[in-house]
Symmetry: C2
Subunit: 180 residues, 2 copies
């Protein structure tokens, strides 16, 4: 088995693919925005904490810094086009909810709205922020979490095969295949 | 669409599934260990930085703290049984390489070995550590990265469908399905 060694600029190519999330945030005047992220992971069960990575060049970065709140919305592969649009356009001069055909609905504990069309939503308050190279790592405490009931299994866990979350690498998108 | 709200202990249930990685580390006497993690994400392209989450209760936590080095090894779904064993047994009193039938090979830049059977390996040095609830978040700078050449596409990116990385939620395992 021959191993290919990567130059430093392409090292992350050797990493696994990641789940895609759509993060909602809001500006000081109440206008919401959406940013698609490939940097998400859970980090603590008790309390419930999650991490996201956001580039300081992105408009949403400023909104999250200003309000200290965001919502992680998890899209199904059916939302691929809307997800891609929200990852490539800036919300600075447009309404991404309108352009992507998505519906904002009020959150329970935070000001940014949920995306109705996403199968689950995690309402978060920023509890830590760290500068990590070219991105900012925000650690969010999950204050409320919701999941569409049709994607719940009998034992109240996420039905991954039915929900069809998006897995990405290099902006190519898949969903999960058969169970092993 | 009815939304199910979760009690605080089950909030992460609403999060997406995540890629599984097998992290190698080493003790001060040179004995290597392996821990399977569901908490991994990239965080910076330049420099190349990645995050992992490790519980302080795990034996590997102490090794990573002591040496400041680890390797992220990415298993294919064919390694499911070895991966599961390395996530559920403690390396304190056993040799996980031997028990799981895996082969340690020397890394280029760090002391912990690579897992030969994994399709890619990211050699990391800890550059940040943060206590996040019940886990420690380690940020690793990737010093060297390798990928089996048979899983490279023509444009030198990871061939995800061929490599069959493991995606997990609630200790149920999938790999990626068709491209969308």
């Amino acid at each position: 088995m021959v191993k290919k060694t990567f130059a430093s600029s392409k090292m992350l190519q050797a990493g696994p693919p990641s789940s895609v999330v759509m993060v909602t945030c809001i500006d000081s005047k109440g206008k919401p925005n959406i940013i698609t992220l490939g940097m998400y992971m859970p980090i603590s069960h008790d309390p419930s904490l999650i991490c996201i990575g956001v580039s300081p060049n992105r408009y949403s970065h400023r909104l999250i810094e200003e309000t200290g709140e965001f919502v992680v919305n998890v899209p199904s592969i059916e939302l691929k086009d809307a997800m891609h649009l929200c990852g490539t356009k800036s919300g600075k001069n447009c309404d991404k909810f309108k352009e992507a055909g998505l519906t904002p609905i009020p959150a329970e504990r935070v000001k940014p709205p949920l995306i109705k069309e996403c199968f689950s939503n995690l309402e978060c308050r920023v509890v830590q922020r760290h500068e990590c190279g070219d991105h900012t790592l925000f650690v969010g405490e999950v204050l409320a979490a919701r999941l569409d009931e049709e994607y719940l299994t009998k034992d109240e866990t996420l039905d991954v095969v039915k929900a069809k979350p998006i897995i990405q690498k290099n902006h190519v998108y898949w969903t999960v295949g058969g169970k092993h």
